[in-house]
């Protein structure tokens, strides 16, 4: 049973436009959400996170929105750049601290075309 779902396996956008990557979750106990970016032959790298007490977190070109009632979050990249082309994983956790663990989605392959 997939608790974190990324229903779009791939997304293609033009350079300079907005990229919107979506993520849905089913576990109402999740209270912390993260996005990771992964290039081929590399491990995932942390991008941005959001706590359940917020509905938006922004870091430069990257903004994450959280809609708790809909159990939905999204990552916006504006403007998109060719170097943003990668697989993006959504992840969620139930808590913080030593028993903490992440549940990942399957990822969305973003391609930004020049």
């Amino acid at each position: 049973d997939q608790q974190v779902k990324q229903n779009s396996p791939s997304l293609s956008v033009q350079e300079g436009r907005i990229s919107i990557l979506n993520c849905d979750y089913t576990n109402s106990m999740f209270d912390y959400f993260l996005w990771y970016k992964k290039y081929p032959a590399e491990g995932p790298t942390f991008l941005i996170s959001i706590s359940s007490i917020k509905d938006k977190n922004e870091d430069g070109r990257f903004t994450v929105f959280l809609n708790k009632s809909a159990k939905h979050l999204s990552l916006h990249i504006v403007p998109s750049q060719p170097g943003d082309s990668a697989v993006y994983f959504c992840a969620a956790s139930e808590g913080r601290g030593s028993n903490y663990k992440l549940t990942f989605g399957k990822g969305t392959l973003l391609t930004v075309n020049p």
Binding site: L34, E42, G43
Partner: protein, 115 residues
């Protein structure tokens, strides 16, 4: 954030053999995590490795198949034992405690192909 050196980066192994994957961290960390990413699937946590105690395995993973060592605060190994083609995956180690806003740091992964 911590820097992780993971090796081997890839390997092709015969079924029935075992492979040990190593992760070296450039700083002392309490917890290390081992993940598996099967083709087309999400990253799945195999186990959590604490120094000085036995690893804690997630549902569906057992110590006999995936023995883990954690001899000190900067190093861990994961062994994939008695391999079959179904074990072909990317294996990743990770450190960090999320909830701090810093997220986890991952190694570059080991791409394992079992033939």
């Amino acid at each position: 954030s911590a820097v992780i050196s993971q090796k081997p980066s890839r390997d092709i192994c015969q079924r029935g053999t075992s492979l040990t994957i190593q992760c070296q961290v450039d700083s002392q960390v309490t917890m290390m995590f081992w993940y598996r990413q099967q083709p087309g699937q999400s990253l799945t946590l195999i186990a959590t490795a604490n120094q000085g105690s036995e690893a804690t395995y997630e549902s569906g993973f057992v110590i006999d198949k995936f023995p883990i060592s954690r001899p000190n605060l900067t190093f861990s190994t994961l062994t994939v034992s008695n391999m079959s083609p179904e074990d072909s995956s990317i294996y990743l180690c990770s450190v960090g405690v999320a909830g701090t806003g810093q997220g986890y740091t991952f190694g570059s992964g080991t791409r394992l192909t079992v033939v």
